[in-house]
Point group: C2
Chain length 332, copies 2
């Protein structure tokens, strides 16, 4: 094997992403220089943020057509020209949708956990940490609080709901379709789950939250955010994690009417965060997540798609709600 | 004098408030019962919130047509049937737009400050405290930060700007009309002021804030909030104090498009507050404000309208931007 296969980001989508957003590309195996490491991709994380990067500068530069599609990755060191890395090491980084990459050592993090890669790509890594810090640090739930989470059946939502349950909260989620909702209640211990596609989402959330909402973990923006705002209790906290309802659309919906009016009268706090902001406490949080999973207190839900060639369709499916839990591609 | 004159709240406005929103009414002088105090109104505070109360439940019940128009008041005790109050005492409360009221003692606060009533009705009381706690506690400015404040020439805005200047910040305000803007810079020490009515408000704010905005004190919502959101620095704070651009209109504008998208990517915090939430620290804050005013470090700007009969027109004027600083009505 001395060829490298890649998916390039081909062109900016105008509406939903499709197969022509990406282009398959074959190139030479990259060479690692001094200070670099040659890595072989094992797992490729698929995240709603991948879509947001196509639309402009976010917390990182916008994607440029022609570049290798970006994405969080886990791989194995093949060859090292950098101190601290040796062949066989498991590393994570952001080298994108390709089989191999030559990466500067400073852009890699070595993983020493013995957990399966399926867990290291999500529940015990970025998505688990996103749920952990977003809920506990930004949302600040107290026992007895009602916690609402949108995209509850997704990678972050499944973790948020279970951590909220462990925190002694009433947990209500929104998801697309009754099947997912039933599954959230039956398998993950949600107190209630609401199919946002069934209509009447505000009324349904109100009925499921008879004491109002103290913490709303917002993965979606859009109509669920509007509904949540109107149901927040005094001094409620909204952890703004994502806006996935607006990523894969041609024309974004208007902003929430109740901002800032209701924010004032109810003394609400909306706060955005990026998981990397909390990486100084990463080890502590990962250890806690790993223990919860090992003890069976949290189910780590993963949805693994086999083969790099399936990556575009797997990301498209993410915006169609095809996944439950963390979706990732096993590359090798 | 054994008659009491009042302004009743006559009917809910559909668009802007007008003279027919209120109705002049004469009634008998009220009698104070046991536990009550007869107060004579000296000053009546006019606040944008007066308008918001007409539209529905906020942090207090909505106004009902037929009731005496509500408003923050300062008065003098005429007759006391309650412990702790004696004729001549200066008290504050919320007995509304009338010359006299019989008030339960528990709903009055005795003022012992020797400051003139013109200052006690605003800069050294509710509006000063709103600026103080909203800026310092919610906005958390650090020396060198850029602080933007909307409705900067108003009761709260004039105080916010000056407290921000004392905190070592670059201070930029928005106001209606070039005259007010020039005045903010010349008289109150703002680094820059922008006429939001002149158009191009986002570009003008951007030019006045070359290092971006760290703290936005939002009195208005609307287009200035939209512009501010797009110019906030990473981890910027927005203190949500009011939404005055949307109070006196028939149809509120859409919500801010950049919520929650930009809140996430920039890790912004939007937080609403009501000054009463901080009243456990009221004495400390009032003493500090009084010292700043006494030392000439802050100019307390008041705009006193003479006579209760002028109250409706004075409130209407508030939404036309007729005032500079704290507008109040001297009743007696």
């Amino acid at each position: 094997m001395n060829r490298n296969h890649q998916w390039l980001y081909a062109k900016q989508p105008t509406g939903r992403i499709g197969p022509d957003t990406f282009q398959w590309h074959e190139t030479a195996l990259p060479a690692a220089k001094a200070g670099e490491v040659l890595v072989k991709t094992r797992m490729l994380s698929l995240d709603p943020a991948n879509r947001a990067w196509m639309m402009g500068k976010t917390y990182r530069d916008a994607l440029e057509p022609g570049q290798v599609m970006s994405g969080f990755t886990i791989g194995q060191v093949m060859e090292s020209h950098a101190e601290g890395f040796a062949p066989g090491d498991i590393v994570e980084g952001d080298w994108g949708w390709q089989e191999y990459a030559a990466m500067p050592a400073g852009r890699l993090v070595k993983r020493t956990s013995k957990a399966p890669l399926e867990l290291l790509v999500g529940p015990l890594s970025v998505t688990g940490l996103t749920a952990y810090f977003g809920l506990l640090e930004i949302g600040q739930p107290k026992p007895g609080d009602t916690v609402l989470v949108s995209a509850a059946a997704g990678a972050v939502g499944t973790m948020v709901g279970q951590i909220a349950r462990l925190s002694g909260c009433r947990v209500v989620g929104t998801a697309g379709g009754q099947d997912k909702c039933d599954w959230l209640v039956r398998e993950l211990g949600f107190d209630a789950a609401i199919d946002y596609k069934a209509g009447g989402v505000r009324r349904a959330i109100a009925a499921a939250c008879p004491n109002g909402v103290d913490v709303y973990f917002d993965n979606t923006g859009g109509p669920v955010l509007d509904a949540a705002l109107s149901l927040m209790n005094l001094r409620g906290r909204i952890a703004c994690c994502g806006n996935v309802s607006q990523y894969d659309v041609e024309k974004p919906a208007p902003g929430p009417m109740m901002v800032p009016g209701l924010v004032v009268t109810k003394r609400l706090r909306l706060e955005g965060f990026i998981v990397m902001d909390f990486y100084d406490r990463r080890a502590e949080a990962e250890a806690r997540l790993a223990r919860w999973v090992a003890d069976g207190k949290i189910k780590a839900i993963v949805d693994i798609v086999e083969g790099l060639d399936k990556a575009p369709q797997a990301l498209i499916g993410l915006f169609e709600g095809a996944n439950r839990g963390k979706r990732a591609v096993r590359v090798a």
